[in-house]
């Protein structure tokens, strides 16, 4: 391609960091044909991470050098880099705290934390002696709210999560480039009956042998013995439905990929978990990484793929370390590689990191991101099972879905299906957060009553009563205190006009006004919209503006007209948006409006 490079040169540090990520350059650089150039593109995000974590931002010189190394147009590289919230294209403090001010943290002191940091460091986004802070959407630390992600750039960069963050601890961490060790995950429910969480807090997540000692790799062995078709059959018997939000039957997805003639096939594990209030996948990834890897390997085997990719949100540094180290151990011990378990099967797993974009959890946006592009959802059909990663058939599943596969292979599909309800089989992880006594991940069979789950987590904090529950995440629904009798199954939720989504159960007590939460969610969708389609790109802004007017009690015209406006917006966003983000962005709001008095009433005209 005849590309025009950016003229600015990278600093030696930037160059070295980028070369370390991309490998030493072949000198002298010569143009590449289109196909060869495009094949380099998937490395873009990791190169950008390298530059950013070395000097704290992506400079012109760094971006230009990356574009040159990857034979891509600088404008496109800029377009991609500027899509992701964790890349800064203007100088940024070298050490920053990303402070979650999203819904679950808001319920537990995030606003006070932000105010304290503002007092100490100045407004968000500014840099004081190389130190700064930013607001952030949910960091997946809602069980230990308020959550903070600390990033310090340098030769040995530091990235670490900080739960139950206090301002002094955050400031100290930034000053000393050191974060206190995160305590291990606590399971607050009785251990018996735990299946997906059986090893969490029990087996050392950094040791392959500890994993083996707790039943690790039995499922992989069984799968290799059964053969791909039989694995899919077990899955079909289990009636497993996807846990990522859409509840699509996993067996059908795998079957479809396995049947595609185009090669190669790919498996992608969706570990982007960014739905506000969700952190269950993080617990699995951090505390049972070998299980995730084993499950990805089984999926790859079943659909005829040799490569599995875990797409991990960049806000999970601990999971990243655990996974990469676990993969290295698996390779060294023959659980991954060219001859898995001596059966002549070739399976590889690698981890790719996102860079701060909720939309990249949407499967097709995720694929684009993996390919080094902007995380814009693709138009469906065609679905990823036909046209997925690099245009090839791809099976994508949520972390929890995959880990459930291990259970299915261990006990058999039919046994698995006996748990839960007839239409929602197995157990489900729920993420309890907000005004709840013992926030955390809970595993219960489908069909468990919401009230029972809340009780399991110790009920509402400080003895208060439930005011509202956000079910399923920002893309979910608010339900009222009179609906706690709901049985948590796909079918019951559907019948109640609710959704279980990614398993969010965020509780707000009866003293908490809802409007600030609705506004935070509106801001979230506005921030996280990819910006492709008009209903979502502009609609999310207009919804937020409308809620600002509600907060100021100043309608544009009348509240009746505002209501109509909102209805038209909601209908159009649901009907005409490209992807699930726009389609569900008004879902929680609409459910709240239907159940609670949020909009003021017009004064009767005199």
């Amino acid at each position: 391609m005849d590309l025009r490079p950016l003229r600015d040169a990278p600093s030696p540090e930037e160059r070295d960091a980028i070369d370390a990520a991309l490998g030493a350059p072949a000198a002298p650089p010569t143009p590449l044909a289109l196909g060869a150039a495009e094949a380099l593109r998937p490395q873009l995000l990791s190169a950008l991470h390298a530059a950013q974590s070395r000097v704290g931002w992506v400079s012109r010189g760094a971006l230009g050098y990356i574009a040159e190394r990857l034979h891509m147009p600088p404008a496109e590289a800029y377009g991609v880099a500027s899509f992701y919230a964790l890349f800064s294209l203007t100088p940024r403090a070298e050490r920053v705290a990303h402070v979650c001010d999203d819904v679950a943290c808001k319920a537990r002191g995030a606003d006070a934390l932000a105010a304290a940091l503002e007092a100490a460091l100045g407004p968000a986004g500014e840099s004081t002696q190389g130190i700064g802070w930013h607001r952030s959407p949910c960091l997946g630390l809602c069980d230990r709210a308020p959550g903070v992600l600390v990033q310090c750039a340098g030769a040995t960069p530091l990235e670490a999560a900080l739960g139950e963050a206090r301002p002094d601890v955050v400031l100290e961490a930034l000053r000393r480039r050191e974060v206190p060790a995160e305590p291990p995950t606590v399971i607050h429910q009785p251990r018996e009956g735990l299946r997906l969480l059986q090893r969490v807090g029990v087996a050392d997540p950094t040791q392959l042998d500890a994993y083996r000692a707790h039943g690790g790799f039995l499922a992989l062995r069984r799968a290799l013995t059964l053969g791909p078709a039989a694995v899919v059959r077990e899955l079909s018997d289990s009636k497993l439905a996807g846990r990522g939000g859409a509840a699509f039957p996993t067996a059908r997805k795998w079957q479809a990929v396995a049947a595609q003639p185009a090669r190669p096939h790919y498996v992608v594990c969706n570990a982007d978990e960014s739905e506000p209030g969700t952190f269950k996948d993080r617990v699995l990834l951090e505390d049972d990484p070998f299980a995730v890897i084993e499950a990805v390997a089984i999926a790859a085997f079943a659909v005829g793929a040799e490569e599995g990719i875990v797409y991990l949100r960049a806000e999970y540094p601990r999971a990243y370390t655990r996974l990469t180290e676990a993969i290295a151990q698996c390779e060294a011990r023959g659980y991954l590689g060219d001859n898995v378990l001596g059966r002549g099967v070739r399976l590889r797993v690698r981890v790719a990191r996102g860079a701060g974009a909720y939309i990249c959890g949407e499967e097709t946006a995720l694929l684009n991101s993996l390919e080094g592009k902007r995380g814009e959802p693709r138009s469906k059909p065609p679905f990823p099972v036909e046209v997925g990663y690099l245009g090839k058939p791809t099976a994508m599943n949520n972390v929890e879905t995959l880990v459930a596969v291990l259970e299915i292979l261990r006990e058999g599909g039919e046994a698995f299906a006996r748990r839960g309800t007839p239409q929602s089989t197995g157990t489900k992880l729920f993420c309890l957060s907000g005004h709840i006594a013992r926030p955390g991940v809970y595993e219960v069979p489908f069909g468990t009553k919401l009230s029972a789950l809340v009780a399991l987590a110790g009920g509402v904090t400080a003895g208060r009563r439930v005011g509202a529950v956000l079910l399923g995440g920002a893309a979910g629904v608010f339900i009222g205190p009179d609906e706690l009798d709901l049985a948590l199954s796909l079918e019951d939720a559907r019948a109640a006009g609710a959704t279980l989504g990614s398993g969010v159960v965020m509780v707000l007590d009866d003293t908490t006004p809802l409007l600030p939460y609705l506004r935070r969610m509106a801001a979230f969708f506005r921030d996280e919209s990819c910006g492709q389609c008009v209903p979502c790109r502009v609609g999310t802004v207009r919804v937020e503006e409308l809620l600002s007017r509600v907060a100021r009690k100043k309608p544009l015209d009348s509240w009746a007209a505002e209501t109509e406006r909102l209805e038209a917006l909601a209908q159009t966003m649901c009907d005409a948006s490209i992807c699930g983000l726009g389609q569900t962005a008004t879902s929680a709001l609409s459910s709240a409006l239907a159940r609670f008095e949020i909009l003021p009433k017009d004064e009767p005209s005199p």
Binding site: M1, D2, L3, T30, P31, A33, L34
Partner: protein, 524 residues
Amino acid sequence: MVLWGSNAREAHPIFFHHVLKAIRRGAKLVVVDPRRTASAAWADTWLSVKIGADIALANAMAHTLIAEGLYDKAFVEAACEGFEALKAHLAGYSPEAMAPVCGVDAETIRQVARRYAQADRAMICWTLGITEHHNAVDNVLSLINLGLLTGHVGRWGSGLNPLRGQNNVQGGGDMGALPHKLPGFQDVEDPVVRARYEALWGASIPAKKGMTLTEMFEAMGVGALKGLYVLGENPAQSEADGGHAQARLKKLDFMVVQDIVFTKTAEMADVVLPARAAWCESEGTVTNSERRVQRVRRALTGPEGARDDLEILGALAARLGHPLGPLTAEALWDEMRTHSPMHHGMSYARLEAEGGLQWPCPDDAHPGTPFLHGRLWERPLRSPRARLSITHDAPPVEALTPEYPWRLTTGRRLDAYNTGVQTGPLRSPLWRETTVDMHPDDAAGAGFADRTPVTVRSRRGAVVAPVRYDPSLPRGVVFMTFHDPDAVDTNTLTIDVTDPRSGTAEFKAAAVAIAALSHSDAAE
């Protein structure tokens, strides 16, 4: 797809869009060019052939095709002639023997030959890189050999294509604006054809072919040609060895220039006839590189006093005693196509309705012909066989010497065109002054920093321009454009040795010396 001596990305940008589409669909691109041009940057394979060694490379490829049995035996047997002679001739052109001559290693030559032969469809396109040499015709013939040997001719998606440099080079030829042709490429020396046109025009036509442009200039030089009528050309600046050309023009007794702008040549003329711009102030047709005849139309009145070419010619004919009556472009076209079989079916109405037609289009129902030479695939062959030609590698006429050690080659840039008569005023933000482009190592070795002004001298003249470092150039080669002759008249350097058959000059290979600017040069 092979682009041979063509930087279509910059010289034929919209044609290159079609190439890019094919690349996106998986087509492979090979570019043969001494420079790593913008086109070469899109290629899977770039062959940096030495300047003037195209025949060596093509023949080595042909050698490979035959030696490895990759040629299309059935096609060659059924539709070609001269195979045995060619085979014998090529014995001396093995890739090993030619590698040092053409600068491409033997294995790469073989590989490209194989890929070309084995492709389902393959096309070779060339432009001035092939034709602006003293042995232009042989260059082209060696490429045609490749097409014939592999049967990549006469079929959809295959073929051999000269990319025309100017909007109506093809059309001019179609209409008989060649010294030896009447409209529709009918031979002027054929008495039957001539008689038909003489009857039609009521005038006699010289029985012998006329002179090529080069022959005319030679004739001017020796005083055999005394009067010249120049229509829409700027030979004072476009001819190789420009200084020489101007001297010859000055020798003429009488020169008429008919043009849309006041060119350098017009400055030298006795009479200047201001014309309307054919493309936007007149009606008519032009023919593009794919033989598509398209309408040009009058959108503007044109400057006061400028007249339509037809009107001028009509008035001139009348003054010369041959009143032609009122002339319209369409009536003339209809007359032309009545007598040119390949244009028969192309009425203005059809050209307009169908967005142009590709000749041959022999009748009103004929859809036009997207590719030529399909006849070679008729079995049994009902028309003459295609001839495989014997071509000889011959280095550029002007050898490099210690005195003139650099090889100068010239070319075009995206936003400029020929001598700049039309694009001159288009100062797009891409515009760059004319520079002496050299490989950085060469330039540094010669002691020139980037942007140093230097004198470039050939046996014919000298110009001054700054050096520009360009790593896309091969060592030993200097590249200059010729778009801005008023500032830097590159063509004073180029060599006026022409191919005896086509009359094109060797713009692409002069020997030059380069020196730091001396004070006397600067004073000029």
